[in-house]
Amino acid sequence: MTKLGRRGFLAAAGGTLAAAALPGSRALAQGVNFAGRNIEWVIPFSEGGGSDAWARFLAPYLSRHLPGQPNVIIRNVPGGGSITGTNEFMARARPDGLTFIGTSGSTQFPYLLGDPRVRYDYEVMPPVLVSPTGGVVYLPARFGIQDASQLGQLADQELVYASQGATSLDLVPMLAFLVMGLNVRHVFGMTGRGDGRLAFERGEATIDYQTSAAYLSNVQPLVDAGTAIPMFSWGVMDAQGNVQRDPTFPDLPHFVEAYEMMHGQPPSGVEFDAYMAFFASGFAAQKPAMLPKGTPPEIVATYRQAFADAINDPELQANKEAALGAYEQAVGDDVEPLYRVATTISEDARSWVREYLTQNHGVTF
């Protein structure tokens, strides 16, 4: 991870703490006015990706609720697997509230893994919104596994998972299967989760997961037709950092419950710590929006309030299904704890994951 000078760290932490601790962000936010300005929302991905759609959906509501109704425009800075754009933002963005960034799990993972190309530091960027996402792991019905408690029957069978790569978002299922003790072979090089679903439908892959929206529209029909059976959801995280059931799938156990159904005891150990860090970063708090380092507390408070109001906008609530799903967006005081969980990892867990990836998948750091 990027080494941070102690002074810089204290200053930044002080800034974010001050923003978090001050009561009544609405009061603090007064005096900030963006009337007639253009606000740039940097998305380090190209047009058409999930993060782009997320930002484009939220932008008009944010514009409506920021003081002065500024124009919020999306600026895509693609390249380098989102590292390029985020590095550039970290180095250049001015802390004047006229520019902020939205990243994704694919930006958080190289940071958590200690990729040397990463020049950004999540610790010093004040978060103003965290959007969770979720997904469901499912199996072919022909295995005869009805629910997670029977997963042990697969112990001596090799499953195949169609993966986008060892350090991609598919690191989360990789760690999950490992923690569970499932014997899974990962075939890499998929260009999206859609590829993986197709491989599953063809019978090439024998275990798969889809994010919630894709699960509902593409896998639920398979479940209804009796060819696929859902096992567990990844779950969501509450403000205390505990895993809870996914609101989209209240009847499905989440990963931790599924583990208990299979093994009779809750998961633990360094593997599980690593899983939790990447799960939080890849799902429970997948897409955070941050202001530049050193942004004054009153601007941070203004943004937090604006995002809170935007999320509560009845029009957004009525239209959010396709873009955000049923997930509760973390706003206001809920932002900070979730953001911290998603952007930190213990030194033990990190070195264990790096070691694991190097040993088993030839990843070099």
Binding site: E40, S46, E47, G48, G49, D52, A53, R56, F57, P60, I73, I74, R75, N76, V77, P78, G79, G80, G81, I83, T84, N87, R94, R117, V160, A162, G165, A166, T167, S168, R185, V187, F188, G189, T191, G192, G194, D195, R197, L198, A199, E201, R202, E204, A213, A214, L216, S217, N218, P221, N319, E321, A322, A323, H361, G362, V363, T364
Partner: protein, 661 residues
């Protein structure tokens, strides 16, 4: 089904919906006309406006735009010799020679009529096929996709000109270039020299523009004339339509080909036009004119590339799997409109699908009509002195290039690939072969690895794989057999070899040695990787190196009559710039250099002023008018895309207001 079909038509037939469709069509035509800009840019321009629109209108607008880009991109291909977008690269081969001959009108009308019918055909395919497509699409696994990639690579044989070894060498070079970036099997980075820029590989649009646009601009500038040798443009419109009618079966075959290849997710649309082009060459009796302005070489790719959009919508709608970059943006648009793609699109949401079908068909017709109306005006560009057009072309292609990652490295990459393209062209190494290798590098590697992982080597025995291999062999045989009186069985994509026999061979030898060195470097780099990550570039480099050695042997022996001897510089030129190609390259390099200092916008203005005064010898008023027009145009475009231009040292040091920042 039919009830839904006609209900969807009735829904669409309101003034409002048709108005939005026409808006999309007009925007699509404008974006398509500009070389290198395609569906991704067009759709990105529309995305901000989707919010709050009603679904049918928004869909009509998006589809209207997607549908007509492969129609209007023909303008740049035919008139300028620059691929208008990745969908009409093959059109350049015969379309551009036609317009040089003064037959631009005929080439354009043949292309537009073929595009229209191809597009409507694609919509027709989508109508019926979408209901039954699921099992068919599912039958194409990684094994079949690998076989299809090999089929695509086999087209290199047809496009190799008089010397097959150069074709294979160029394709090998394309494969090596295409393997830059992360390895699909292991995620290792290959030949990226530690840079973030090359992590994702070189963007396709930059390779296409570098290979085709840069050498063409340089060549035209050297000759110092206008593109068309004849100023007669008005006639030939009916001839082109008659040509399409005469070759109607060819057109339908290619439209079918386009729709099918478009519908197979994973192959991508960028090779459709080449496959169609290869098809027409293989199945024609008289092929002596291909590459020199045969109208069939225009009809085939143009009917295929419009049909591809209809086919490409099938996996996008049914599986949520975009087949191309523009389909990915379209998918994002769907999600913003609250439409989740999936099986329901052929069932519960069939009405949405059929709205798309009708829009596709109507937009193709409207788009063609608008193109025909606009054509005489646009075609007149070819009679203007090229030195006045060149700066605009350079502006547009560099703008298109930095759409890739919005950085100056895009321009550097464009310049580098452009120099490679200039040499390939000069020494008769077929650029289409390079491009096919580049496009299919990632796919052939990824699908081979996945097929072996999923099925073991037994994947080669799968029935559909065997069928595709059989088709590939037949196609190679069809292409390779020589007919009586033919000099060569393939198309001289780089011009006639007999005019380019050089007596001094050392420049060609030097270039071939550099190519060989590139393969050696790729081989060396591959050795550093794990076996899975390195095996593909290793094979590509070995094959390319062998072919290069075959090219080198006759040259080293000084055999002037060998088909390997090809140097465009040996061919006589009527006019030439005193510094030759290097003078033009120096202009481009200077432009990129000034961008590195002062950022894109300032560099553009300086470039226009200098170029128009020095190269075009334009008067000051003319220079100023053209410069202001260019600046206004680029600012409007960048502003509507919320684009910040690539910056340089000045932007690094000082915080400047847009557009200077």
């Amino acid at each position: 089904m039919f009830e839904t079909l006609f209900a969807a038509l009735a829904e669409l037939m309101t003034l409002q919906h048709l108005g939005f469709m026409t808006l999309g069509v007009v925007l699509g035509l404008m974006v398509g006309v500009l070389p290198g800009l395609g569906g991704i840019v067009g759709l990105s321009l529309l995305l901000p406006f989707l919010y709050g629109m009603d679904q049918t209108s928004a869909l009509a607008m998006l589809i209207g735009l997607v549908a007509v880009i492969p129609t209007s991109d023909t303008f740049a291909s035919v008139l300028m010799g620059i691929p208008g977008s990745t969908a009409s690269q093959a059109t350049v081969l015969d379309g551009f020679p036609m317009s040089k001959r003064g037959e631009a009108a005929r080439a354009l009308s043949a292309a537009f009529s073929a595009s229209m019918i191809g597009g409507v055909f694609g919509a027709l395919v989508l109508t019926g096929f979408v209901v039954i497509a699921r099992p068919l699409i599912l039958s194409f696994s990684s094994a079949e996709l690998f076989a299809l990639a090999i089929f695509g690579l086999s087209m290199v044989g047809v496009l190799s000109g008089s010397n097959l070894a150069k074709g294979v060498g160029a394709a090998g070079l394309g494969l090596v270039f295409g393997s830059i970036g992360s390895a699909p099997a292991t995620g290792e980075y290959r030949m990226e020299f530690g840079t973030l820029y090359l992590m994702d590989g070189v963007p396709l649009v930059i390779v296409a523009l570098g290979l085709f646009a840069v050498p063409e601009i340089v060549d035209l500038l050297r000759s110092g004339s206008s593109i068309s040798s004849s100023s007669r443009l008005g006639r030939g419109w009916m001839d082109g339509i008659r040509d399409t009618w005469i070759h109607k079966w060819l057109m339908l075959r290619c439209a079918g080909l386009g729709a099918i290849i478009g519908a197979i997710p994973g192959l991508g649309g960028s090779v459709v036009d080449w496959i169609a082009y290869g098809h027409v060459v293989q199945t024609s009796k008289d092929r002596s004119n291909f590459g020199k302005g045969d109208v069939r070489g225009v009809i085939a790719p143009e009917s295929a590339n419009n049909a591809k959009e209809g086919g490409g919508l099938i996996p996008t709608l049914l599986f949520g799997i975009p087949g191309s970059g523009s389909m990915a943006v379209f998918l994002a648009g769907l999600i913003l409109l609250g439409v989740q793609p999936g099986p329901a699109m052929a069932d519960r949401n069939l009405d949405i699908t059929y709205t798309i079908v009708w829009t596709l068909a109507i937009a193709n017709v409207v788009g063609t009509l608008l193109c025909i109306i606009a054509a005489p005006g646009i075609a007149r560009l070819t009679t203007i002195r090229y030195t006045l057009i060149a700066p605009f072309m350079i502006m547009v292609i560099s703008f298109a290039a930095f759409q890739a990652t919005r950085s100056i490295y895009d321009l550097v990459a464009l310049l580098a690939v452009g120099i490679v393209g200039i040499f390939l062209k000069r020494f008769g190494w077929p650029r289409p072969a390079f491009l096919i290798g580049f496009v299919l590098a990632e796919q052939s590697e990824r699908y081979l690895y996945q097929a072996v992982q999923f099925y073991g080597w037994g994947f080669l025995g799968r029935p559909l794989v065997l069928a595709i291999i059989a088709i590939t062999l037949i196609s190679i045989w069809l292409g390779a057999r020589r007919r009586p009186g033919e000099q060569s069985a393939s198309v001289a994509t780089e011009g006639a070899a007999d005019l380019a026999k050089a007596s001094a061979l050392w420049p060609q030898i030097l270039f071939a040695v550099v190519v060989l060195g590139t393969f050696a470097f790729a081989l060396y780099e591959s050795m550093m990787l794990s076996q899975l990550g390195g095996i593909f570039p290793t094979w590509a480099a070995v094959a390319g190196a062998l072919a290069t050695i075959i090219v080198l042997v006759p040259l080293l022996r000084g055999r002037v009559q060998s088909s390997a001897n090809f140097d465009m510089e040996a061919a006589p030129r009527e006019n030439d710039d005193p510094f030759g190609a290097w003078g033009m390259v120096a202009w481009l390099a200077a432009f990129v250099g000034v961008v590195a200092l002062f950022g894109f916008f300032i560099a553009l203005v300086l470039f226009f002023l200098a170029f128009l005064r020095v190269m075009a010898k334009a008067s000051w008023p003319m220079t100023l008018i053209l410069t202001v027009a260019a600046a206004a145009f680029i600012l409007t475009l960048a502003n509507s895309l919320n684009l910040v231009f690539p910056g340089g040292w000045l932007q690094e040091a000082y915080d400047l207001p847009w557009p200077l920042r």
